[in-house]
């Protein structure tokens, strides 16, 4: 059904995100990364599956937990790992980072690839992404926007506001709600009476449904359907991808409040493992071929780290000159 090369690329994305987060957590512990750092571990399938359904001229908008989206959208491919280098450089605050060290983990944007960017305000990106879709509708093109956000952001009033406006103006936007069931330490069951958050979309007449967020192909298929709806001019779709973090909210949160059995349940349904299995079984690749992909990613990650640590800090003088001119 899916070509091996497609499944390979999906897996490469999944695995790259996994390696990026794992290694960056180590860099954080070594003091090389500072500030806030929110890993996407356990949620890799959502960004990977969703972005695979997009065209080059589409847009995405991301969150504070944005490394996965940036990598998936950045198009790390067999022949181009440069996005990884710019990512690592940015989370290290270096001049060669996506934002020349001005943004950091919470504000990575990749305008050239249609990644409008991460956001430090929970929910802040939802109307912005919806506005990109408004621009598309005005221009009359058939581009699509994917707006990523999580369950906590769904309680910011801008979510229903944006949903409603997307609905009445038939905007080509897919709301990808990454329901990892926590906003920091607040469990979804305590933050709403209806933990199936896609029901909120129905109240606004938006086609809405849930999907297994740990299954990259399930996400991809859902997203493909949603994107098709958008491209046909039928307006927005809401996808609630159910998932779970593999750890705490950020690097320094041990996540002790997460019930062990639930965590184990989700870890057993590891998105990277599931993607690997697809590539082995549906993609009919050998274990060896997979290992070679993994080794290549591992190697590229080390190169990215070397690149980033070699990259200079942005110059304070230049910065002050810029400020002076502003």
């Amino acid at each position: 059904m899916y070509t091996p090369s497609f499944l390979e690329q999906l897996y490469r994305t999944l695995y790259t995100i996994r390696v990026f987060e794992t290694r960056c957590i180590q860099l954080y512990r070594q003091g090389l990364i500072v500030g806030y750092f929110h890993p996407y571990l356990g949620e890799e399938a959502i960004a990977s599956g969703a972005c695979a359904a997009l065209r080059d001229d589409d847009y995405i908008i991301s969150t504070h937990r944005g490394h996965g989206h940036c990598i998936a959208r950045g198009g790390v491919g067999a022949n181009d790992y440069s996005p990884l280098r710019k990512m690592v450089a940015e989370v290290l605050g270096r001049e060669d980072g996506y934002c020349h060290g001005r943004g950091g983990s919470m504000h990575i944007a990749d305008v050239t690839r249609g990644n409008i960017g991460a956001n430090g305000i929970v929910g802040g990106g939802i109307p912005i992404g919806t506005g990109a879709a408004l621009g598309i509708r005005i221009r009359g093109s058939d581009q699509v926007v994917a707006v990523f956000f999580s369950d906590g952001a769904a309680n910011n009033g801008v979510f229903p506001e944006s949903l409603n406006m997307a609905a009445i103006w038939d905007l080509p936007v897919v709301f990808v709600l990454e329901n990892n069931q926590y906003a920091v330490a607040s469990p979804i069951e305590e933050m709403t009476r209806v933990p199936d958050l896609y029901e909120r979309g129905l109240a606004y007449g938006v086609p809405s449904s849930a999907v297994d967020g740990n299954d990259v192909l399930a996400v991809y298929q859902k997203m493909q359907e949603a994107v098709a709806t958008c491209r046909q001019g039928k307006g927005p779709v809401l996808i609630e991808a159910k998932t779970y973090r593999h750890g705490g909210h950020h690097v320094n949160d041990p996540g002790l409040y997460m019930p062990k059995d639930r965590l184990e349940h989700y870890k057993a349904r590891d998105p990277v493992g599931i993607g690997r299995k697809y590539l082995l079984e549906q993609g009919q690749q050998t274990e060896e071929a997979l290992r070679s992909i993994e080794q290549e990613v591992d190697r590229q990650m080390e190169e990215a780290i070397a690149f980033a640590t070699d990259s200079p800090h942005p110059s304070a003088e230049e910065f002050l000159e810029e400020v002076q001119r502003s």
Binding site: H100, G103, I116, G131, A132, G135, E161
Partner: protein
């Protein structure tokens, strides 16, 4: 552009209303650039509460003149997103009082995006809104909140006081590649003034000397310019020759024009409708005392709104904001004549 409001050699201009001038600016820029669109409450069908957008729906259709639900925070954010991805939105927030609902999108998103993206992203968004008191609209529809935006790096801030400026500055705002806060005044919409037929824009950061004078400098903007000029006329009757400066844009600010005037008059009165505490007037005063310390012959006087929400009752409303008499008194105080 000359620093004076009207170009010296321009042919005689038509006289139109402030709101008509704004309408022309929007219309011309929408013709000129297909990326420009308008979004706000009641701006399409109704043509706006103050009739600024009348006729634009008919001319440009509902895709470019959009009536939005009462979801200010999100439709402003949508403007931000559209701007980032290549459009030129003009977002209308009916009253500056309601910008309290959209500060996140303006301050944390629009104003910072260019910087946070390492200079790669731009947000060419214009926020049109309207402030000031007058007409008994009470505490939630009468504020002067320019100081909030003035304090935020990444925003430009425009407050036109004449039809001529309203048109020229709005056109410049729409062509700017960064976010511009454009604050109109509710009492000015029906005011008339000369506006040339031919196309023009007005550079930001260039103030206008509304009345040259030598005895005292009066700086005022938006709704207070007229009041300052009226005060200056009365002062002239008493032999006091006031220079009235309208900075027109508060960010960027034509500091040099103000400093040059103060170096000449050695006295400064700053008039703002906003409450005194923490207002833009304080900041201008702080700059002038810093850069023209040795020229000042008297403390800089600030004439400003009282420390109160605006009352509904018309008498109290008037008492809450600067009147002609307050400006005259302040000017005389600066001249040690009171």
């Amino acid at each position: 552009m000359s620093a004076m409001a009207t170009p010296v050699s321009a042919p005689p201009a038509r006289v139109i209303m402030y709101r008509e001038a704004l309408n022309e600016a929007l219309r011309e820029e929408m013709i000129r650039d297909a990326r420009v669109f308008l979004i706000g409450g009641g701006i399409a069908q109704r043509g706006g509460s103050y009739k600024v957008t009348v006729g634009l729906l008919d001319q440009f259709g509902p895709k470019r003149v959009i009536d939005a639900p009462i979801s200010e925070s999100s439709f402003t954010g949508m403007g931000v997103g559209a701007a980032i991805t290549g459009m030129r939105p003009v977002v209308e927030i009916l009253f500056v009082d309601f910008t309290s609902l959209i500060m996140d999108q303006i301050v944390n998103q629009a104003a910072k995006y260019r910087f946070m993206s390492g200079g790669k992203g731009r947000v060419p968004l214009v926020l049109r809104t309207q402030g000031g008191s007058g007409g008994s609209l009470a505490a939630q529809h009468s504020q002067s909140l320019e100081a909030w935006f003035y304090h935020v790096p990444g925003l430009k801030l425009v407050m036109p006081s004449t039809p001529y400026d309203a048109k020229g500055l709005l056109k410049t705002a729409i062509r700017d590649d960064d976010p511009v806060i454009f604050i109109e005044h509710k009492l000015l919409y029906m005011e008339k003034g000369p506006v040339p037929e031919q196309e023009y824009t007005i550079d930001f950061g260039v103030g206008a000397i509304r009345r040259p004078g030598k005895d005292v400098t009066i700086v005022a903007w938006s709704g207070m310019v007229g009041r300052a000029l009226a005060a200056a006329a009365k002062l002239a009757e008493q032999g006091i020759d006031a220079e009235v400066i309208d900075p027109r844009t508060l960010v960027p600010l034509d500091k040099e024009m103000i400093l040059a005037s103060v170096r000449k008059t050695e006295r400064l009165v700053i008039v703002q409708e906003a409450v005194r505490r923490g207002g833009v007037a304080s900041d201008i005063a702080s700059l002038v005392q810093q850069e023209a310390f040795d020229y000042l012959d008297a403390p800089i006087a600030i004439v400003a709104g009282k420390n109160t929400p605006i009352p509904f009752n018309a008498h109290l409303e008037r008492a809450a904001v600067p009147q002609e008499g307050d400006i005259i008194a302040a000017a005389k105080r600066c001249l040690y004549l009171s």
